[in-house]
């Protein structure tokens, strides 16, 4: 097999020196689900991050606990790109079942690390192979039997670190973070890593161009997944009640609540909890509990994914009509039933917008980064209580479960907005109360909370028709009047929801609209399009209802591509309803494979002047 690196034009042309490609590669680690490779991969990605190299980490895993193939991709990018790429430069092939398939993902001149007890590959003569004596290295270390498989994954960490020049000290610090400062766990892993590293230093000759060098581009940033960020944001938003039912890819959000709430929200003197987290028997119950607590006046939330939302639909509709503030995180995945539960999607947009029977429309937020998950985590409670309605935070598997560089979390700069709530003293002063009266004309009525002792405070919450005083009514005018007020309220919401983020390039004539996790691929694609002479303006949506900026952006461009990860172009359809007179300008770029969209796909499909 050929083991000569392919010359790259963008690297050094000194004939005597091997070409070098610094801090720019995608590396995929192919393993078997359940073999404990997550620690190894986190050690590598966090070490790179700590060396100041921009990174992102994506775990592509099956719906399975043990035995099926799984891939963890680490992208390093000196330009700060974090989107998925379709080809990779480096493969660490730890799964014999997918070895050949994994080789095919390599670019020409790519690199492959593999255990030397696998049969030597006969394919891909253009690839640099580094066989790794994993079994003999593990034998030398002789870890306890129960840790053997786990520790053996550390061998590739040491060898990859040696070849790519990843600093061992940073790997050690990364493990300290991973094991939360537990030295013993760190040391038992480092022993294997150091041994493998030492072996590679003496026994392997570097024959590939890929290198890591210390940089300073991650200064002050954090590396985190969106679900943890969302949970932390919710805690700083004062969540005091959460009910949930386990579902991939949402579970780690409420699990993070259960991890951090005891640290952050126990009464110091009594040790009592200022929160309650309930794992419900299903999503119907999770929704019911969340609504009961929100009605009572707690900051109340749940987190789920598509199938769970289906079960929640009836209760969410009731919450909309009773006007109960709650927050629902939808960490989107593919398909109904089992679907593709471990693959990412933006397929719930239309469903969530109208979730419920009868006429319902919901307020939705679209975070694109962990910092935004944190911010929307607390802001969603302010919005829900201001608007007295369910607020959805639309994340997805890619954002929720993968690892992203992010600006650090910023402490909320605004005091909490608890909305229009009347206490007993207010009622005594006002002397009159009707739960659904629109006093200010913004569609938002005043509410009282159970426990309010004033005789005027009481009202009976129900889905059935009610008049302004929350009394049972089947009068046509009462129903119509209430719907009109609810629509007025949703219009008011436009003044409170986060506005889109607008990015401009000079001379741009076409517009791109995206939201959530399509952002990194769109950003990268815009750089490439611009270099190819196609500058673009880009509007990243952050909420529904749409703010007035959205209409202005569409009016400004003759062609607007709406880039999203669902088959029907769901956001595009909602935008067409918003701006019907410009519906034809809106072109759908829908990518729906279960994988995050790539910049290459966007570049290939933005074709100005052609029929969309």
């Amino acid at each position: 097999m050929s083991q000569q690196p392919v010359q790259e034009s963008l690297t050094s042309t000194q004939p005597a020196e091997p070409p070098r490609i610094v801090n720019d590669f995608s590396m995929v680690v192919a393993t078997i689900n359940g073999s404990g490779s997550q620690t190894s991969n986190m050690a590598l990605i966090r070490a790179l991050f700590r060396m100041g190299v921009p990174v992102s980490g994506k775990n592509l895993f099956p719906s399975n606990i043990q035995g099926l193939p799984t891939w963890f991709t680490i992208r390093a990018s000196s330009l700060g790109y974090t989107a998925r790429r379709e080809k990779v430069e480096i493969v660490v092939a730890m799964n014999p079942a997918t070895f050949l398939e994994d080789l095919q993902t390599l670019v020409p001149g790519g690199v492959c690390f593999y255990p030397d007890h696998f049969p030597a590959p006969k394919e891909r003569e253009d690839v640099v192979f580094y066989p790794m004596p994993v079994q003999s290295l593990v034998k030398e270390i002789d870890p306890p039997k129960e840790l053997r498989e786990y520790i053996s994954n550390m061998a590739y960490v040491g060898i990859v670190a040696s070849i790519l020049a990843i600093e061992l000290d940073e790997i050690r610090r990364a493990l300290l973070t991973h094991f939360r400062g537990k030295e013993r766990a760190v040391e038992s892993n480092m022993k294997m890593i150091a041994r493998a590293h030492a072996w590679a230093e003496t026994q392997l000759t570097k024959r590939d161009p890929y290198m890591v060098q210390r940089d300073n581009q991650t200064e002050g940033m954090i590396l985190i997944d969106g679900n943890t960020a969302g949970a932390l944001g919710s805690i700083y938003g004062g969540v005091s009640f959460a009910a949930w039912y386990p579902i991939t890819p949402a579970s780690s959000l409420p699990e993070s609540l259960s991890e951090y709430l005891p640290q952050l929200r126990k009464e110091k003197d009594t040790g009592r909890a200022t929160y309650a987290v309930v794992q419900a028997e299903d999503e119907i119950a999770a929704a019911g509990m969340t609504i009961g607590a929100g009605w009572m006046g707690a900051r109340s939330m749940t987190a789920t994914s598509g199938p769970g939302l289906s079960l929640m639909a009836e209760y969410v509709g009731l919450a909309f009509f009773v006007e109960v503030p709650i927050v629902i995180w939808d960490v989107q995945r593919m398909g109904p039933g089992t679907g593709l539960p471990t693959r990412t999607s933006q397929g719930d947009v239309m469903f969530v917008r109208y979730l419920g029977h009868g006429d319902t429309k919901h307020v939705m937020l679209f975070p694109a980064t962990p910092a935004e998950c944190f911010e929307f985590g607390w802001r969603a409670f302010d919005l829900a209580e201001r608007l007295q309605t369910p607020v959805f935070v639309m994340s997805d598997l890619d954002l929720g479960m993968n690892y992203w560089m992010s600006d650090p979390f910023e402490y909320p700069e605004e005091p909490m907005d608890r909305g229009k709530v009347l206490d007993a003293d207010d009622l005594e002063q006002i002397g009159t109360f009707g739960r659904y009266r629109d006093i200010e004309g913004d569609g938002i009525a005043y509410r009282t909370l159970p426990g309010n002792p004033h005789p005027l405070a009481t009202w009976f919450a129900r889905g059935t028709g009610h008049n302004e005083n929350a009394l049972y009514s089947e009068r046509a005018e009462d129903w119509a009047g209430n719907m009109e007020r609810l629509w007025r309220k949703l219009d008011t919401a436009r003044d409170f929801v986060p506005r889109p983020v607008l990015f401009r390039q000079s001379g741009a004539r076409i517009g791109l609209i995206g939201y959530g996790t399509t952002d990194p691929a769109i950003q990268e694609a815009r750089d490439r399009l611009s270099a190819a002479g196609v500058p673009t303006n880009y509007l990243r949506l952050r909420s529904i209802p749409f703010t007035h900026d959205v209409r202005a952006f569409i009016e400004e461009h003759d062609e607007v591509y709406v880039i999203e990860m669902n088959t029907d172009g769901q956001m595009r359809q909602l935008l067409q309803l918003e701006v019907p007179e410009h519906a034809a300008r809106l072109r759908s770029l829908s990518y729906n494979t279960g994988l995050p969209v790539s910049a290459r796909w966007i570049v290939a499909n933005v074709r100005p002047g052609k029929e969309g």
Partner: protein, 350 residues
């Protein structure tokens, strides 16, 4: 002769300890049928809350969907209430009562709402021991949708159209016992005094208290042979004891012969006096309760009373070790951790 009494404070006649009259506990006029058992139960809820001096603003009402679930509008207008979804009231109550531990919860459901569509949430409510008085107004039939069988309908019961029910009924009390509920009672809407005393006992119990009350539907299921009819209930009711609740700070004299009665102290200090009737029965023996119910079924009897009482189990509020200030009343400085804590969190992910 022993006397069980409490002490009381001087107050005007017709006013309870919180200064309210019985009429202060009323609701809107009922829209249920004349003679419906549910109306009788609503009256006893009003009486029990008055006699237990419940402050209306400290009580919340919950219900699901059905005739029974409409009834919370017909009592305690001065209490907040939430008419939820069919079979899903337990979850609503769970969230609400965790969010404000200072509130007393009372839920009204029906046999369809509990034993058909809601059996799952019902069992999980009991498993968690949510502090809630859970009343099932059990008539064995769907009223609002006009006469279909529910899961508690008698085997062989006939619909108006002549169709017979082929299925064995769900026994709500046996389900509650199986789920380890600490307060399981059966009663009959035609026995208002017992209904009232059971509600009073349930109001002083901290945990889920299940009251399965046979409450005849005069429109769809009141044939004499139906076990959910007035006639059958009157003929077959067999109370297992005579029950009196002595609220804390109340003075009531109950004359007892030695060995004639069991007195159980409840969480709030109220006492439940169970006076023996014909049979020997220990209401703290869970398996005895199951056996008794099965015998009653075989013997075609309507056994009523407090079948099982175990006030020692922690409620969900205890298990959650919740702050004494209700979660819904926590101030911003408690809800939002201090800025310095966020610095530490950011450092954790660098």
């Amino acid at each position: 002769m022993a006397t069980v009494t409490g002490t009381t404070l001087p107050r005007p006649a017709n006013v309870n300890l919180v200064g309210l009259e019985r009429t202060d506990y009323k609701g809107l006029p009922s829209t249920l049928c004349q003679g419906c058992g549910h109306n009788s139960i609503s009256s006893q809820i009003i009486a029990a809350c008055y006699e237990m001096s419940v402050a209306p603003e400290r009580l919340v009402k919950f219900s699901g969907i059905g005739c029974s679930s409409k009834s919370p509008a017909y009592f305690l207008s001065r209490s907040f209430g939430f008419n939820g979804l069919h079979g899903r009231m337990p979850s609503l109550a769970t969230g609400a009562l965790l969010a404000n531990r200072s509130m007393k919860g009372i839920g009204v459901s029906g046999d369809g709402d509990t034993a058909s569509i809601g059996i799952g949430q019902f069992i999980h409510l009991l498993r968690r021991n949510v502090p809630l008085v859970y009343i099932v107004e059990n008539n064995g039939v769907y009223g609002l949708t006009k006469g279909q069988f529910s899961a508690t309908a008698d085997k062989g019961a006939m619909l108006k159209k002549g169709e017979a029910n082929p299925f064995h009924p769900v026994d709500i009390c046996i389900e509650a016992l199986a789920a380890n509920c600490g307060f399981v009672a059966r009663s009959f809407a035609g026995d208002p005094r017992q209904v009232k005393e059971l509600i009073k006992a349930a109001l002083s119990f901290e945990g889920t208290a299940v009251l399965d009350i046979i409450s005849p539907c005069v429109t769809f299921n009141n044939r004499d042979e139906s076990t959910k009819s007035y006639a059958w209930g009157k003929q077959h009711e067999d109370p297992i004891h005579d029950m009196t609740v002595i609220p804390i700070r109340e003075e009531i004299e109950v004359e007892l012969e030695p060995g004639e009665a069991t007195t159980v102290e409840m969480h709030d200090g109220s006492r439940v006096v169970l006076k023996k009737l014909e049979r020997q029965y220990d209401p703290t023996d869970r398996m005895a309760a199951v056996t008794l119910l099965e015998q009653a079924r075989v013997n075609n009897e309507l056994l009523t009373g407090l079948l099982y009482l175990n006030p020692t189990q922690p409620s969900l509020v205890d298990i959650g070790n919740l702050a004494l200030t209700p979660l819904s009343e926590l101030a911003e400085d408690v809800l939002r951790p201090a800025p310095a804590t966020l610095e530490l969190i950011n450092a954790e992910f660098r």
